[in-house]
Symmetry: C2
Subunit: 190 residues, 2 copies
């Protein structure tokens, strides 16, 4: 069996998207990095956007895996949500690709990037929502709108981790957990 060209292409594209962003990445460049003819890319992916989408799908899976790993079924719900969300946002804050895309979304508003970032947020909310539903079933928290609760949790976390830093000293991980316990979970406790 010859080299796995699809894998080569995905790896090359990921590298290029991470380095230069979506718009600034050319298909020629991807082909060059992957040591592959440009036409080959189009035997695996309908177009540039579909290639991008597949990479984002992988990214979402990775996030999910990282979050799952951070969770310990023995711990209480609020501790696990904190761990999961913190991991996801740290991931987002550190990974080359997400940083670049976040930047491109704000600075250029590339439509394909905007779309994908929405998908990313939806995936995170969906993930948290499932955890909330589980917790309600187990009686760990009181009944509430899971979608709304997940939404509030994510927005609050993003604010605390990304926005607060703009005008203040960053909050310690422990501090964020405490804040969350006090403000959100006390209101959800049974």
């Amino acid at each position: 069996m010859s080299v796995d060209r699809k894998r080569l292409i995905i790896e090359a594209a990921t590298k290029s998207f991470s380095l230069f962003g979506y718009k600034a990445t050319t298909m020629d460049q991807v082909a060059k990095i992957a040591n592959v003819g440009k036409g080959t890319i189009y035997t695996f992916f309908k177009n540039k956007e579909e290639l991008f989408d597949e990479i984002i799908s992988t990214l979402i899976s990775e996030m999910k895996r990282e979050a799952d790993e951070a969770i310990d079924p023995e711990l209480p719900f609020h501790e696990n949500v904190h761990r999961a969300l913190y991991k996801i946002l740290e991931f987002r804050k550190q990974h080359q690709l997400t940083i670049k895309l976040f930047q491109e979304e704000k600075e250029m508003g590339t439509p394909a990037v905007l779309e994908v970032m929405t998908r990313l947020e939806a995936a995170i909310i969906h993930y948290v929502k499932e955890k909330v539903i589980e917790a309600i079933k187990k009686g760990e928290i009181q009944a509430c709108d899971p979608e709304l609760t997940a939404f509030i949790m994510l927005k609050l976390y993003v604010s605390l981790i990304f926005d607060w830093e703009k005008g203040h000293e960053p909050l310690e991980k422990e501090r964020i957990a405490k804040i969350f316990e006090q403000y959100v979970f006390k209101g959800l406790s049974v």
Copy 2:
């Protein structure tokens, strides 16, 4: 006494900023609308940005006045915070000028507009912060970091009023109050 030219200029500029935004408003246009020589503007304001700043200061005062009016000292703290924040954000959502600026901030990132929007947010947080400090003094809520609490309240409100609508049915005013009571104030209750 001749006509109050300064007032004319401010009114003209406010109208033009509301209609076309900061960048798209020219000093010639302001002078024309105000029925004033362009040079006159520069006897009252050092430059375009200072004129803009004065208008925003007025806007902030108006917001403060509206919020103060919405507050009823007889009511509990959480009800007043809800009323004040809701008024402020409704104001922001409905007033021509803030809508235009919000749009300009996102779409073009005009530096002067960005600066001013930061100032606006700081003013709102400062306002809420004072209310929080009062409430702590009166023993209405438990001790907490007033700045952080004000920050969280604003961010959550903004998320609920502006972001939630992007993917869902808008939340009723009463619903927002309930959510806030449940998620934030239960954690602050004494």
